[in-house]
Symmetry: D3
Subunit: 219 residues, 6 copies
């Protein structure tokens, strides 16, 4: 039986999951594995605080435990990678976080990456991640667009804010590659790249692409 | 009313809590705050895996939420600091982790610290913490004594293993100060110091001492 | 006999010492130790150059040697920590520097700290300290208010300059916690915190608070 | 027309290329791209010195220029990544180096990786790469097996030397994941993993797997 | 016979070589070695891309091989140090790169250096060098003047652009020493220093000065 | 009038000064400056503790102030570089420390340097220097020979201890270049190099050589 790569959206927003699923289209392969994007019904509406992250971590882990048998792999589709290191304790199934994979991908596309964060309050958490990964020297900086979940639904304004943040990271921080610090916004990747002239990493695609390779290798 | 500094043992072992409480004796002050060491009944018997850590984090947070009103501060008394960054989102009550405070204290007692870990499997997690703290350059190394929870009850053998690990960190890794990577073993601090000739940091005392100072300052 | 924690102002300004002493009020404890803030009559009027620092170091050391018998501990109350590592060679009495302790405290209050320096010329010296401490990755930046000793006496203008520097560190460098890079200005801590919305570390209080804890532990 | 992912062995050894090609089997996909492993006839017999690396770089670049039209991507299959940054100046075709990709993969499989080098003389060059990548903090160490090209043909002895190096990296340097610092030795991956109990990264598979994902994304 | 220190301009511009040669005047010594500045006829007109760098590396190496017998030492006079690590494999003749030596010299003149680059596209390459050298923490930033080779011939405008970049590095990035990221512009050093108030490192003079010392030592 | 480069031995040992002076022979140049090695009569017999260092710093500074008029430059010939940053505040005369210059020289001779220290107790101080210099990543390690000043006079035994330390740094720490962490032992450089097969940096020669170059440049 074909196994499944689970892409876990740890917040309860079906819209975000749908956005992630749409971004998977170019990655599906006839020979599998199946890619299934799931919403965790018991997740918070959005992962914003550390409390959201840590609560989401357990939900993600619970889901993974329950689906371990049919899982080819797991991708945690939230830019704080909730539960990633717990999942890695499950032997035999590779697990990936979109933040980690986005950063690793950025390292191959430029020398110093800038991160477009949604909320100012997440930036310190991201820096802890870059520090734990030992790659802080490669981070040019972070800039937040500072929009709430409801404001994000105004797509034109959100994209404009992301372009503005990207240009500041490029011009003031010296970023030569950008990372979108959020899931579910893949359609903004191309226009952001166009507007800033820099390569842009969409983290869910980056992570699923790496996961598929590793599943194929059986590592 | 005098407020309370809660020292939270996130595992369910009353013996460990008792050990921590005994170590608090030199730190209690007539003018307060009260220091109360608590056991989280719903915690794991010991915090060993990342799953233990992340599960403990939520229990710690739940406890803190419930006791916020009477809390002068919180100390998370487990060397993986479960829940620390969640607690820090609660404004108005300072929170501390024994791992973070032990490291910061070590930075004032020597130039490169060695960590005596209980389990080999915790060392990678510790390195993530030192990386996130941006202090990895000050870490001489880690050495695990590799004893299970039940084996730890043989105190003489445990101390001997810690002395051995401490000497290796001193001689092979160049550590000039040692950190005990566990809670509840304060009585070993003096003999360990004696045997290795290096200053030794006991993490719960280090953390509570820093917490009391900050409570007094009202920061 | 109750021992004394000496807080040593290495410059000859009684006004600065008085300011430091005032900041100690919330930290004094009935059970001791006594906290005594001293002015070194042979110190420079202000510690500005490296020559001032190195000359002050010997005065600080001389004072400590002379008062070793009755000392519970020493705090060097100048942001360049003159003489700190000499004091640490005196076994049996713990010693602290306000710069080191301010930085360590900041590490528990935010992810990347900004330092408000008095003089532009001190910033390189501070960076050497952050480098020697191995924590440069956690420093968002430094900004100098550029006021001479006599100009500092205009308190309103000094505070305004500090607020301005703090806002630049927050907005341009991404600092999420601020460190006041000077002794004797504790009353500015609260308004600075208020104006910038960031936690602010006053270094003499941070250091004395840590010193008291360590004295209590006997480490 | 289906495009081709060129896996370029920059040395002139057909045997090495054959070894690399055999390792590609699990990675080929019906939907393409074609994976073609090529030997550069004008390359050195083995890439050992910096001169070998820099000379190989131009050969790799020349090959890539000539095959750009039909190329889906390029993988430089030598652990010194000769020519990688030149290839990245060709817009529209993604390029990867096995050293860089092996390291990035290792970052997801452990906290501190050890590298099994072939020659002692390559280790300084590797450290320059880890430094340029800004990930030196994640490197536990390197150990060379110290065997010449002709000695490598004794497979049993070579594997034994790699196991020995891997165990030293694990026990003395604290590595929790190993990277094979050479191409063409994929069959040793499983026994090395078995013997050391650590995950092992084979660099050509790691790189081709990442390349295929990126080609699929069109990044 | 007096040996020769070859200062190799790897681009084909005689004008640049003439500029370098003029800058050698204060460094020539009666007791030798002779300093000879050479143009590599087969070099690119200017070293701008990574391809230029890597191609130049082989030309530099070829020249060095041919002149090894009479060489007292080699200085690679291009800010990307093409071929430096190849030259270092030639035992018995010391080799230097102007980028490496400029950085090392800057480390003795200030705490955080800023680099004035010619082209934006070279900055990522420079950061790889600072990373490989393990000194990135000392780099305040880089700023490009963004002028093409032909535009550089307008000296007044070029100097004005360099002064502007230098001031930005000083005021926005906190640089307290500047490095000119190019060869052949020694006459700009003094006015740049004058205009910015910071010490300025001219890289060819820095490198030749270090090379002469090492030749004298016989190291 | 020809100016003088003062090489200041901050301890009171004439024998050490004589050793330094002997090492200057290959560096003297007919065209000047004169090189004069001086003993500070008021210095400690040997610089061992931080107190020695800080006390020596003021003596060094006093000497430099008094000889500023005829000075072409100053080299502080003690591996703790006492007073270096004070001297650098004297404008118009370049100053160098043997520790800083030895490290910078080592960076051009290998990728990771090992330091042979005299006393175990100096190693922490050295690490503070490498940290302040931002080059700790390039330090493979330090090893002390652990001989007192009087024991150092047994030259054969001292050299044997240095060879032993050098081999440990090479084999256990991966050093590919060695730095002698002391002044006055230049004759040991060649045999140490011979015995270990690694390039060896003698710090006073390294520093004077750099100083002469900078004096010639007028920087």
């Amino acid at each position: 039986m074909q196994k499944t790569l689970y892409v876990i959206n740890p917040n309860s927003s079906q819209a975000v999951t749908a956005g992630i699923a749409a971004a998977m289209a170019p990655l599906s392969r006839p020979e599998g594995p199946r890619i299934e994007c799931v919403t965790l019904a018991d997740g918070p509406p959005g992962v914003q605080t550390q409390h959201d992250v840590d609560r989401a971590a357990l939900s993600v882990h619970r889901f993974a435990q329950e689906h371990r048998g049919e899982a080819a792999g797991f991708v945690v589709a939230c830019f704080s990678d909730p539960g990633l290191h717990m999942l890695r304790e499950m032997k035999g199934v590779p697990s990936f976080g979109i933040s980690e994979c986005a950063a690793l991908t950025a390292l191959t596309l430029g020398q110093r990456f800038g991160v477009i964060a949604i909320l100012q309050g997440s930036i310190a958490r991201h820096w802890r991640t870059w520090g734990a990964m030992g790659i802080a020297q490669r981070v040019a900086g972070e800039a937040a667009i500072g929009r709430t979940v409801s404001e994000l639904s105004d797509q034109a304004a959100t994209l404009a804010a992301m372009v503005d943040a990207g240009k500041r990271l490029r011009d003031e921080n010296g970023a030569d590659v950008l990372v979108m610090g959020c899931a579910g916004m893949a359609p903004f990747r191309a226009p952001l790249q166009e507007a800033t002239g820099l390569p842009v990493v969409e983290p869910t695609q980056a992570a699923v692409s790496m996961a598929l390779g590793r599943i194929q290798l059986g590592w």
